[in-house]
Symmetry: C2
Subunit: 547 residues, 2 copies
């Protein structure tokens, strides 16, 4: 396998561990916990894994030489640092007892059900330490939710004499990890399940989880290229760059990148929803900034747009909801119509408010909403090129303003979408250390007999050796939410809080960023060099943890 100079040099990096994890540990348990809401329902659903205490590892005296085999699963989208969770887990599992084995289930949770696995050895692992990607064992989106899957998984668990499964995933995967933990506990199978907080989206965080892994590296990678585009923009002085950023549910990525790069405009979906803004409101706000800058001779700028924007615009959200219902009910006869007839059909059937919204959309978008549907008949919002939709509408509005004499600039737009560029970047020092500590904690939670816990590492804006590691009962983070028409226990997703410090810091500066040109150029992630360059946490984490 040919590798790059950076891959070779990075392979030698030894992640730093919190002091408490460097030697023998003992478990310090807190008081029993409660779920964040709907305590009675959650307790009833998780009788065996509810109410357990928070756990912190502190220096102990005797090594736990526990014999155990462990299986690991990567679930969902890639995030930088996954291989380091595996490395930390592997090293600690072997440190506890060199005869212990670590098995990796292939291509996600499906690997457990289908009995596809590989034994992870040092020989296999060594080329993957401190690397991005999930390619060591692959990932997948199969959801573990059915008893027959749990039972099928148990067969291979028994065959390999596995004591515990570690599931690395986002909020849904960790919810499912807890359901699995509860099931195995209820059946007294003696199989533990431990989760690990992964997602570049940054929306798996709460009082116990300071950040999900991958967010640091991904946002730094996006900020690098956004900063480069800003510098180009400020040199050429003739383009408006509309940059869409991955992150369907929450706008943490866009907000973090804005705090790092200070673009002229950054849309935050949660704010748009809270203010009940229409698409036209958004367009008007952007066009006003473009017009103001043009009046200053600055016909250029940078706009950041979160991928999930469209669904957060309340009027469009309602339209999509009605379209989904309408076409689910009448899909068959609708499908046979030609394009124009389909459009007429939709216009004839929508309620007045949603028809008005539908008619304000550019033709390409309304066609996409009426034509392209996923296998469940739902609108494929992710196919909408929001960055082009917005810039086209801004361009149209500016053209009108020009006729009215309200605007006299030039508007030339370029478009970008960043997502795949950052999900598999080589982990930053932060993510490399954070993930290695998470993996180490996961192994120690298993050795301590815990199940239904997620591995956590806290105090992460301090020096690495001062980080605190432990576990949180997954039920503690749950509440009941409606999903596909049913109330389900789920880990509450963390959206951008409009009264949180990161958003407030952004609001305090954004008017200046819009009018002036305040671009900051973060440059590429550095692994060696001055600590202030290599070891800074995200702005989000820094502001949230600010004392």
């Amino acid at each position: 396998m040919k590798t790059s100079a950076l891959q070779q040099a990075r392979a030698a990096y030894q992640p730093k561990l919190p002091k408490a994890l460097q030697g023998a540990v003992k478990v310090q348990e807190g008081a029993p916990t409660q779920s964040v809401d709907n305590q009675e329902e959650i307790k009833a659903l998780f009788p065996n894994t509810y109410g357990m205490p928070l756990v912190e590892f502190v220096p102990g005296e005797t090594e736990n030489a526990k014999q155990m085999n462990v299986g690991i699963i990567l679930s969902g989208g890639q995030a930088p640092g996954g291989h380091n969770v595996i490395s930390g887990l592997f090293d600690q599992v072997k440190k506890l007892n060199p005869n212990n084995k670590l098995y990796g289930f292939l291509m996600g949770p499906g690997g457990l059900v289908d009995h596809d696995y590989v034994e992870i050895t040092e020989e296999l692992l060594k080329d993957y330490r401190n690397t991005g990607g999930f390619d060591l064992i692959g990932s997948g989106r199969t959801k573990l939710e059915k008893e027959e899957q749990f039972e099928k998984g148990l067969e291979i668990i028994r065959q390999l004499n596995i004591n515990a499964i570690v599931i690395i995933g986002g909020d849904d995967s960790n919810t499912n990890a807890c359901v699995l933990a509860e099931y195995y506990a209820a059946k007294n199978y003696g199989v533990q399940v431990i989760g690990c907080p992964k997602t570049i989206d940054g929306d798996l965080k709460n009082s116990q989880i300071e950040t999900s892994f991958g967010f640091d590296t991904a946002t730094k990678t996006y900020s690098e290229v956004i900063g480069n585009i800003e510098r180009d923009c400020n040199s050429a002085r003739k383009y408006w760059h509309f940059i869409k950023l991955m992150g369907r549910s929450a706008s943490h990525i866009a907000l973090e990148c804005a705090l790092q790069t200070q673009p002229n405009i950054c849309l935050i979906s949660e704010e748009i929803e809270a203010k009940d803004q229409t698409l036209n409101d958004i367009i008007e706000n952007i066009a006003e900034v473009v017009a103001y800058r043009a009046s200053q001779g600055n016909n250029f700028g940078v706009v950041l747009i979160p991928e999930g924007l469209v669904e957060f615009i309340p009027a469009i959200g309602r339209l999509i909801q009605e379209l989904n219902d309408l076409l689910a009910a009448h899909g068959a006869d609708y499908a046979d119509l030609d394009k124009d007839a389909q459009r007429a059909y939709i216009l004839a059937h929508l309620t007045e408010e949603n028809r008005a919204t539908f008619e304000t959309l550019p033709e390409g978008v309304s066609r996409q909403l009426s034509l392209d549907r996923d296998p469940h008949g739902n609108v494929q919002v992710s196919l909408i090129e929001t960055e082009k939709l917005i810039s086209d509408m801004v361009g149209a509005k500016l053209a009108r303003w020009k006729k009215e004499g309200k605007y006299n600039g030039k508007f030339s737009a370029l478009h970008h979408f960043f997502g795949y560029e950052g999900r598999c970047a080589a982990p930053s020092n932060f993510d490399a250390d954070y993930c290695y500590a998470l993996g180490t904690s996961a192994a120690l939670l298993i050795a301590s007999g815990k199940t239904g816990y997620m591995a956590i590492v806290k105090n992460t804006t301090a020096r690495t050796d001062e980080w605190k590691a432990g576990g949180v009962p997954i039920t503690m983070m749950m509440n009941m939410e409606r999903r596909n028409g049913e109330m389900k226990p789920v880990i509450r997703k963390a959206l951008v809080e409009l009264d949180g410090k990161p958003f407030k810091a952004f609001v305090a500066q954004r008017d200046q960023w819009a009018k002036e040109t305040c671009y900051v150029y973060p440059g590429p992630i550095q692994y060696w060099g001055p600590a202030e360059v290599c070891d800074q946490p995200t702005k989000t984490l820094e502001l949230e943890q600010e004392k």
Copy 2:
């Protein structure tokens, strides 16, 4: 001005200079030179600047304390390192005599004509050392070609008591620099003109110019994100990524990125032209790789596409040529037709061969070719989303093969275009040093009384202190070429040589890369850390300079 931690740390970097430039220098002149072709014509056009010797700077004994003021111009697209050329020039100009002044003309060559300038001082420059972008003084695309521009420029040159103008640009800008040098020499104005080889495209190189600045940083930045996408691709195992890379004329960027990242497929325009391949040939080749990989269970891959591809496909090049001529002749009556009538008009007027080509194109592309035209009536090839065109056509071919039972995989495509992400990246150590040496050389060429020269630095795969600096008469690199219907003296553009070592190294490996998965992940540019990570030249340069 708020700056990032990297910007602050990088500001302190002192670029390394070749030993010969570190102290006093003297000029070592070679034999008289000849242009690469059309010697008689070039000599007749450049009587005052033709035939001058190559120049190398070697250690000297006495400092040249020459009093001189210098003007600098950035011309054309941004390239990483422009600010370092200015820094090197500034430092050497001041070193020669602290009273010397450096003026920057604003927003490109237009700044000279319009008398827009700023004096560059240490106070102004210090925040721009080792940074990307051209935002210190801006750049522009005004062409300096007319006597009235030269005379208008002379006014401000006289007013500021400027002895020499340095023009940082690509092949066209350096050609124009030479025309300006010749003009001022012919008029005995006593104003020198020096060029500097800039372009991320890498197509300004020859026996004297080893590489143009910016190519190193830009290709490393693109390779970083391509590598990240490859890793994602190899983890998710379900997408084909079609990545278009900036570079209209030559495929050096695509080739260099392929050598760094080992994608499954990389198209090289020059090869396609040489083999007289059709669009269908290209599609078929790609579809065959997709089908082969699918047969191995690998429904994923990465394809690199040079931006200029479409114009290099001979059949399409001929079609575009005829369309341009046709619509230039009949533009007025054509413009009033509706879309369908325009298409019919074109089909009725094209020659048979070109009509056949036109009809094979997907509707969106043929519409783009027939509708969107630049102010000169030419087809706007840069608007064609080549990456989508190719993947759509590959998808269509695979769907046919599926019906015929020749293919049984899944084909899901994602698209990227990288260009603006790299043009203004912070310069790598290589570009930071190379540009600083170029600027230093430019100052020394001026102090030596030279005009019509380009600053050069050679032996660039050796350690920086062994680099050789000097100048090359611009006429030496010229030949006569047809431009807009007229024969003009121009610097010969360097396309990818099909018998050159970089292309041959690619050809020797590409079949393996297509069938297997041989991705290499270069990671982000590093400024500190192991030399093998931080200081490696491009693969292209390494292979070309290989002894």
